[in-house]
Amino acid sequence: MKSPAVIVLLLFTFLPRCCAQSQGELSSLFMAIKSVDHEGKGHQRARLAIQELQKRDASALIPILIALDDANPLASNWLRNAFETIAARTLEEGKPLPEEALLNFLRKTSHRPASRRMVFEWLQKIGSDQADEMIDMFINDPSDELRREAVGRYIKQAEKIAKDSPDDLKSRCAFYRKALLGASDNDQVRKIIKGLKQCGEDIDLQYHYGFLNTWYLIGPFNNKQGVGFAQVYPPEKEINLTAAYDGQLGEVTWKKYQTDDPYGILDIARQVAPHKGAVEYAYTEFFSEKEQPVEFRLATPNAWKLWVNGKLLFEREEYHRGTAFDQYRVPGTLKKGKNSILLKICQNEQTQDWAQRWQFQFRVCNPYGMAIHSTKTE
């Protein structure tokens, strides 16, 4: 009985070269590569397949890109390497890449955004004028990296006007406004805000990013020696905003808080109290116009858990290792109508100055960083 790996090897080794480029064989190579998964699953077959795929010529490039569309993140990297190996070798041999087919792939926004970005870069490498001309159209692109190109170009145009025609606020601001439409990277958003401020326009950053700024908080519950992270307190069993429970320092009830921080940071230590060894729960509701996949993006220097509609989506027990914008990206699904969002934010007992922060920032966006807004706000 031969192992599947041996069978795959025999198949790839002895297939006549004339048939090697056949769609059927490429499909079987893709199938083997796409079978890679967690903890090294599928590596035996995939290793043989990738060796074979890497030998192909430029005619395999577009099929590889199409295969990337539904590959998991691990398999994507195997396929990406095959694409780049073939593309690099093709250019080294002085042969052309299929520019028109690559442009068509780039144009079609239903393809995997990361693949389209890769294609864009290869088109730039070969000096494709058409790829460069497409940049303006990327302003609403699903790919955040392609959008960034368009945003960057609009910012540059605004800056050029500011330099060449400082009094032409109207044209300058028009470019900044266009740029803002696609901006999700904070460095670019900051530039745009600064530019628009010169035009007398203030941007609501909370709205732009989709930060949730209004929460009901309850606590503190005990987290001495870190016991509270695993302990199930009443808000994990029921959401009853009128209930009272025994907390760490006596009876606790839900209280409503709002943050006016431009980046939506709700500072528990400042707005509630700087308790140590404590747990605070934060609850809010989000209304979605439809069922949709989203990313919940969270930033906190504290240990945390996140439930959406009663389901635990992620938890992380890490304290004071830093915090940054969009620190955690948790994929999930919003249902149509009301969605409940519950956060558990745990503070430990470290005494250093840099270990006093007890805060969180939370937003809902699409997988490419653009805000999704609740259809109903308080």
């Binding site: 890679v36 967690h38 903890e39 090294g40 590596h43 035996q44 995939a46 290793r47 990738i50 060796q51 890497q54 993140p73 691990l74 994507s76 990297n77 195997w78 990406r80 390497n81 095959a82 780049e84 190996t85 690099a88 990361a114 890769m118 990296e145 960034r148 990277d185 460095d187 220097p301 992620f314 938890e315 992380r316 027990e317 890490e318 304290y319 290792r321 830093g322 915090t323 940054a324 620190q327 955690y328």
Partner: protein, 396 residues
């Protein structure tokens, strides 16, 4: 028959010589920072070539044959993982391969996603990143396998970034992915990337790197806040443990049968004889307290650099300090030593050569590279390779 034997012997000798001149992992093929090939230059001014690096990274370059390999990350979110291969002769880029990170790429601004130094077994390159992606390529850039350890275990990460470099021994790639939450060390099959073993490790952020035991035993030494574990690289089983705590930043170094561990200053331990599970503590010295740079042993003396950039030299037999020399710190990069000279680069890019003498040390050459340096220098065939945030230099 005799001719065949001579040919075979010459071939083996050639291979051994080649291997000795490679610099295949963090702090060299032997993992100890000592240059065993031709001596490095006496001055730092003879720059053979300098190249601009496209991405960010603080990992050391590694050298296999006539190729130098460098890892970096690119993109606004630093989520594109890059491996570059350059010709050692002229610095020409031979190839670049890029991948999409499957784990988190957020890290402290002083670090980079490409902080861990890659490793090689002479046929393959193993690249590791703060996102806990492990990439295996052949020397031509063809993918052999790809693992995402955070993809497998989503809480394997550190918001400050991960830094442990890889080592490869007996066909096993050892990946320390130790942090506050889900903390593991993995032994991956070098050929196919599958998990040969996976062990639970202390739940505490750890930026140290594993070290190859140079003796006959198939051990790798794993340092953590808990201490040091000697782990059988073939099975992942712990042979012995030192449990008196250790630093989580500078890594231990080994000379002969003794490990010099950043613990209570510096602690020298050797495997226990009567109780093989418990190592013997030879000495401890609070006077020898390494900051970020790892200690290094050369000709019966151990050297450590403190936060102020002062290098202490001590007797490896008893830990007694013999002399101190002031260099200009601070150092994130660990020093290397070649023919009685220590090569060190501070964080601001000032490279210094310290002539090591019996009774003191003297800085005999400096060169200001005017760039941020956190990567430990590498060496091969008498040349020094320095990697800053922006550039790669060959000094010959």
């Amino acid at each position: 028959m005799l001719i065949r034997f001579i040919f075979l012997f010459a071939l083996i000798l050639h291979c051994v010589t080649c291997a000795a001149e490679d610099w295949r992992q963090f702090r060299g093929t032997l993992n100890n920072g000592i240059v065993t090939g031709p001596a490095l230059p006496d001055t730092l001014d003879h720059i053979a070539w300098k190249i601009d690096l496209k991405g960010r990274g603080v990992s050391s370059p590694i050298i296999v044959g006539d190729r130098v390999f460098v890892t970096s990350s690119q993109g606004v979110h630093q989520n594109r993982l890059v491996v570059n291969c350059y010709d050692t002769d002229n610095g020409n880029e031979l190839w670049q391969r890029e991948f999409w990170a499957t784990g988190r790429t957020i890290c402290h601004k002083k670090m980079a996603v490409a902080t861990p130094t890659p490793a090689s077994d002479g046929e393959r390159i193993f690249a590791f990143y703060s996102s806990n992606d492990v990439i295996c390529l052949d020397l031509e850039g063809n993918l052999q396998w790809y693992r995402g350890l955070t993809y497998d275990f989503p809480n394997v990460s550190n918001s400050l970034g991960m830094a442990s470099s890889l080592i490869v021994k007996n066909g096993i790639v050892v990946c320390m992915a130790e942090n506050d939450t889900e903390s593991f060390t993995f032994g991956l099959d070098a050929i196919d990337g599958t998990t040969r073993w996976q062990i639970d490790r202390p739940r505490k952020a750890n930026w140290t790197s594993p070290v190859v035991w140079p003796g006959e035993e198939p051990w790798v030494l794993l340092q953590s806040s808990k201490g040091v574990a000697a782990v059988d690289v073939n099975t992942g089983e712990t042979a012995w443990e030192y449990l008196d705590g250790a630093s989580t930043i500078p890594s231990l170094t080994i000379n002969g049968q003794v490990a010099y561990v950043p613990s209570h200053g510096l602690t020298a331990i050797r495997p226990g004889i009567s109780d093989p599970k418990t190592p013997k503590i030879i000495w401890q010295s609070g006077q020898l307290s390494p900051a970020t740079a790892s200690p290094i042993v050369y000709e019966n003396r151990v050297y450590v650099a403190n936060r102020a950039g002062v290098v202490s030299c001590a007797d490896i037999e008893n830990g007694k300090r013999i002399w101190q020399a002031r260099m200009k710190g601070p150092f994130s990069a660990s020093p290397i030593i070649s023919s009685g000279k220590m090569y060190a680069v501070n964080e601001r890019g000032l490279a210094q050569i310290l002539q090591i003498k019996q009774d003191g040390g003297e800085v005999i050459s400096t060169h200001d590279f005017q760039d941020t340096f956190l990567a430990t220098p590498s060496a091969s065939n008498g040349a020094l390779y320095l990697r800053s945030d922006q550039h790669l230099w060959k000094i010959k």
